[in-house]
Structures are given as structure tokens and as C-alpha cells.
């Protein structure tokens, strides 16, 4: 697989801040992968995300997206059509009074032909399972539905990468589930590269790769199974582990010998069943 996003020792400080938000981050993200970025508030994970579509440009170092340097102001539209971004608050990213008009916003900006926009809007809404709501007013929908509309609005650009900056932070558990399954589907079924910024560890389970950020540094990088299986690491980062892993830890402490890399609920149950039968 080829590389789609590349960070070369990126430094960034917000104007007026004393501390650096990114302290020399280097990173390479492969096309088609599902990457989860976790960390506490102020760890720099949102700043990292905003570098991926040139909302922020590094003070030092370089970010390359699809082979384009993000500091190239002339190609900024090209970068943004390739890297779609979904934000935390669904209310603040929906621009139109009707669902389908909102989804059409990005392709309209790109100057796509009207008939093609129609097709893209319908396809995108079907992909996120909101096609039946195309004529609704967004403010009457639930948080999870609004966030799926926001995702549809981004995939209507046909981007290669979709970056989600804590998309579930303001949602209830049902909404979180809806959004997560939509996102997982985008990666698995449609081959889109997904970068998910989150602080819910449970949401990282389905990712191919998990990156932990602390104070502007990448402090750990590996598969979720690898990272969660290392209790010392997780504790030193002050991060929680998914409930399945916590259960395994607890059982192991009681003398069981269970693997820590069975993250999904079903896999976890299967491992426990095996252990009990032996």
C-alpha cells in the first residue's frame, strides 16, 4: 500500500501560545488504512488533524498529502477535496436547511455538474443510511443522524481520506454506534483512508493502527491489540482500556491465562469460553 499522508518533523505553536502544540511529529499514513489517534485534551491530536487538510500549516517541518505540500496555497482546494474533515459539533458544520442541500454544498463548491451532484448526493446519503431523510430539516434530526449527514457531506467530494475530529464526543451511545459503524464501513467497504481522533478507547478497537499522543508528541504507535495488551504503557499514558481488555486483565489477575488482544466483545467471549472449557 502506498503512503497518502506524511508528516516530517512538524512543529506548530498556536499564535499567542507559549507551549508548542506539536513538537516535531513525524508520521506516515497508508492509503486505505483505519488509524485511530487518541490522547487527552490538549495532547495535540486535534492540531494534528487540522494539519491534514491545510487548515493549519506547520511552523517548521512539512506535511505532504497525496504528494502535495500543504503549504502550497495554490493547491489548497486540491488538498481539501482529497482530505475530508468531520468535526465534533454537528450543528456547526451543517450549512443548509435541507439535508440534501447540505450534502450538495461541497460538490457545488467544486463546480461539479448539476446532474453529477445529484448522483453524488444520493450515493453519499445511501452510504451513510440517511437517504430517506434527504428532504428533512437538519435541526429536527438526532445528533447521530446529523453527524452522518456531515459525513455524507464530506464523502460527496469523493475524498481519498476522511479525518474525523472527535465525531462522537457530543453524541449519546446510540449516536456513537451509528457514526462508528458508518466510519468503519467507509474504510472496509469503500477503501477510504480513515483517521479517527477520539478519546473513547472503545472506538479504537476496529482500527488497524492506534497512535497515542501526549503533550504534542507521539508516545506510542501500533495495532490496538499490541498497545492495549501492555497495561504498563496504557497506565503510564493515563489512558483507559476498553471494557473487554479490562475484563481480561481482571481475570488474568485471578490466575487465568487469557490473551489481551481479543478486543471485540464476541472475540472476548469466545476466548473466555475456550479458557473455561479447557
Amino acid at each position: 500500500m502506498s503512503e497518502i499522508i506524511r508528516f516530517d518533523s512538524v512543529h506548530f505553536t498556536y499564535p499567542g501560545d507559549e507551549l508548542e502544540s506539536l513538537c516535531g511529529v513525524s508520521l506516515s499514513i497508508e492509503e486505505g488504512s483505519f488509524v485511530a489517534v487518541v490522547g487527552h485534551n490538549g495532547s495535540g491530536k486535534s492540531t494534528l488533524a487540522k494539519h491534514m487538510n491545510a487548515i493549519l500549516v506547520p511552523d517548521e517541518g512539512r506535511v505532504t498529502v497525496c504528494g502535495i505540500d500543504t503549504s502550497d496555497q495554490d493547491r489548497i482546494i486540491e488538498i481539501r477535496r482529497n482530505v475530508g474533515m468531520v468535526f465534533q459539533n454537528p450543528d456547526n458544520q451543517i450549512v443548509a436547511n435541507v439535508v440534501e442541500d447540505d450534502v450538495a454544498f461541497a460538490p457545488e463548491n467544486l463546480g461539479v455538474e448539476p446532474a453529477e451532484i445529484r448522483r453524488r448526493v444520493d450515493d453519499s446519503l445511501k452510504q451513510v443510511g440517511m437517504y430517506d431523510y434527504r428532504q428533512h430539516a437538519p435541526h429536527l434530526l438526532s445528533g447521530g443522524q446529523k453527524q452522518r449527514i456531515a459525513i455524507a457531506g464530506v464523502i460527496a467530494m469523493h475524498p481519498k481520506v476522511i479525518v474525523l475530529d472527535e465525531p462522537t464526543a457530543m453524541l449519546d451511545p446510540v449516536g456513537r454506534k451509528e457514526v462508528l459503524s458508518t466510519v468503519t464501513d467507509l474504510c472496509r467497504e469503500h477503501g477510504m483512508t480513515v483517521v479517527l481522533i477520539t478519546h473513547h478507547m472503545d472506538e479504537c478497537i476496529h482500527a488497524d493502527r492506534m497512535i497515542i499522543m501526549t503533550d504534542g508528541y507521539i508516545t506510542a504507535d501500533g495495532t490496538p491489540a499490541q498497545l492495549f495488551a501492555d497495561p504498563a504503557l496504557m497506565e503510564s499514558q493515563g489512558l483507559d482500556v476498553p471494557e473487554t481488555v479490562r475484563l481480561m486483565y481482571a481475570l488474568n489477575k485471578e490466575g487465568w491465562n487469557l490473551p489481551l488482544d481479543a478486543l471485540g466483545v464476541d472475540e472476548c467471549a469466545e476466548e473466555i469460553r475456550k479458557a473455561v472449557e479447557n
Binding site: R81, F87, F105
Partner: protein
């Protein structure tokens, strides 16, 4: 409680009036207003009333709904009527009274004029979605681009404002509840006291509106917004036969009204 407020209310439907191009409807409303002000005698008023009634029937908007929209204006309507009754000179109804026959006639005509003016414009907003209205405006005002008037920006602002009305109302409700929970009192006291009580609502509301605007701007940029240049629209406006027919009818209507005015 704040949710009851309606602004530019739209009642979806699929009648011929709903399907007319918003540009046609905007032009027709302008013609209608001009025609209404040209009406000077009863013949003129009857024609305008007939036109309004025809549109009401075609759009299947019940008169009840239109009249309920008039409620907030009742004070102005009554006041105008009263002023005309008392201040028109002519033959008194009863010898020695200030009320004259001419005054009564004027008053009825003025009340009709205001009522028709409001119901006519209501018929536009009742049958046309806010988005369609802003789209129509954008297209109609396009020539102003020549004198560098920011047409696209203005209509985008309008539709965005409409989009955020419910969001901000919801937010106001939340802030009011939060203040009430901490003992704020919005219901009692004189006008000044109540106006002062609104201040603690306005400040957080403005702060959050600015934060929203900032986030929205970033989200729009992320979706490749770069002004009106090179932008296409998914929903293309197209004049159909019904639009041409309506426009011709309205021009005729205007011509008749002008003739009536000339003759009187």
C-alpha cells in the same frame, strides 16, 4: 416556549403555486404590491381581492391560516382604520358627528389594502421554501454583480441565517433554563427590570454565536468553499410554461390596474 416563534413559515405542498419557479413568484409579488397601490376605487380592490383569492385557492392554503398570520398586525390595521374614519372630511354620517361616509369608505379601503398586502406576501412565504426564495433572489439580483454588489455572499448569508434560527432559539432556551435554575427571574417586574434580566442571556448567546461562526467557517473551508466563483448548483431553476403563463397574466393584471387608475 420559544419554539413557537415562526419566521417566514413555509407549508410544503405540491400545488401549481408551490411548483412555480421562485423567481416567477418573487416578480409576481412585486407586481402584486404595485397593483395593490394602484387600486383607487372599488373595482380595483375587487380585482385584487379576486386575484388573491384565486392564488389562495390554487395553493390550497386555507384563509384561516392566512388570517392567523395577520394577528400580530391587528393593532396597526385597527389604528389605520380608526385614523381614517376620524380624519377624513366629507358628509357626516349624522349631522354634527366627526365620522363621515367618506371616512368609513377610506377606512375600509385602507384596512383592505394592508390586509391584502400582508396576505399576498404570506402566500409567497407559505408556498416557497426559504432556500428557494434565496436561490430565486440570487438569480434575480445577478445583474447587480456588474456594479460589484456581493449577490452570492448576501444570499448565502440569508440562507445561513435562516438555517441557524432554530439552533440559536434552542440555545436561548437552554441558557434561559440555566439562568432560571440559578434563580434568575424573567417573568415579573416592570419593562426595565425585565429588559435588564435579558442581558445575562444575550451575553452567553453572543459568545456562543461567535464561536459557532468560527467553527462553521472552518467547516465550510474544509468543504472547499472559496466564494461564489466557479460554484455550481445542484438544483437548477428553470422557467416552465406555467411560469410564462403566470408572468403574462400578472403583466395583464398590472395593465388593467393602470388603466383603471387612469380612468378614474
Amino acid at each position: 416556549m420559544l419554539k413557537d416563534i415562526t419566521l417566514g413559515q413555509y407549508f410544503p405542498g405540491d400545488t401549481i403555486v408551490h411548483r412555480l419557479d421562485p423567481r416567477t413568484k418573487l416578480i409576481c409579488v412585486i407586481i402584486y404590491i404595485v397593483a395593490l397601490f394602484l387600486a383607487v376605487n372599488w373595482t380595483g380592490y375587487i380585482i385584487v381581492i379576486a386575484a388573491t383569492a384565486a392564488f389562495m385557492i390554487l395553493s390550497r392554503i386555507s384563509p384561516k391560516r392566512v388570517f392567523s398570520g395577520l394577528k400580530p398586525m391587528i393593532f396597526i390595521i385597527v389604528l389605520t382604520g380608526a385614523l381614517n374614519v376620524f380624519y377624513t372630511k366629507g358628509t357626516p354620517v349624522v349631522e354634527g358627528w366627526i365620522i363621515t361616509w367618506e371616512g368609513i369608505e377610506r377606512a375600509i379601503q385602507m384596512i383592505l389594502r394592508i390586509t391584502l398586502l400582508i396576505s399576498g406576501t404570506f402566500l409567497l412565504t407559505y408556498t416557497t421554501s426559504p432556500i428557494a426564495i434565496t436561490d430565486g433572489l440570487e438569480m434575480l439580483l445577478k445583474p447587480l454583480k456588474l456594479i460589484r454588489f456581493p449577490v452570492h455572499e448576501m444570499t448565502l448569508m440569508m440562507s445561513m441565517a435562516l438555517r441557524f434560527i432554530p439552533t440559536l432559539i434552542e440555545e436561548t432556551d437552554k441558557i434561559m433554563s440555566a439562568q432560571r435554575a440559578r434563580g434568575a427571574d424573567f417573568e415579573t417586574g416592570g419593562l426595565v427590570k425585565r429588559a435588564k434580566a435579558l442581558l445575562p442571556i444575550l451575553v452567553p448567546l453572543f459568545v456562543s454565536a461567535f464561536r459557532r461562526a468560527d467553527e462553521l467557517a472552518v467547516a465550510m473551508e474544509s468543504r472547499c468553499y472559496h466564494g461564489g466563483e466557479g460554484r455550481t448548483r445542484m438544483k437548477q431553476l428553470r422557467f416552465e410554461t406555467r411560469d410564462y403563463v403566470t408572468l403574462i397574466l400578472f403583466v395583464l393584471f398590472l395593465a388593467v390596474m393602470i388603466m383603471l387608475k387612469r380612468m378614474s
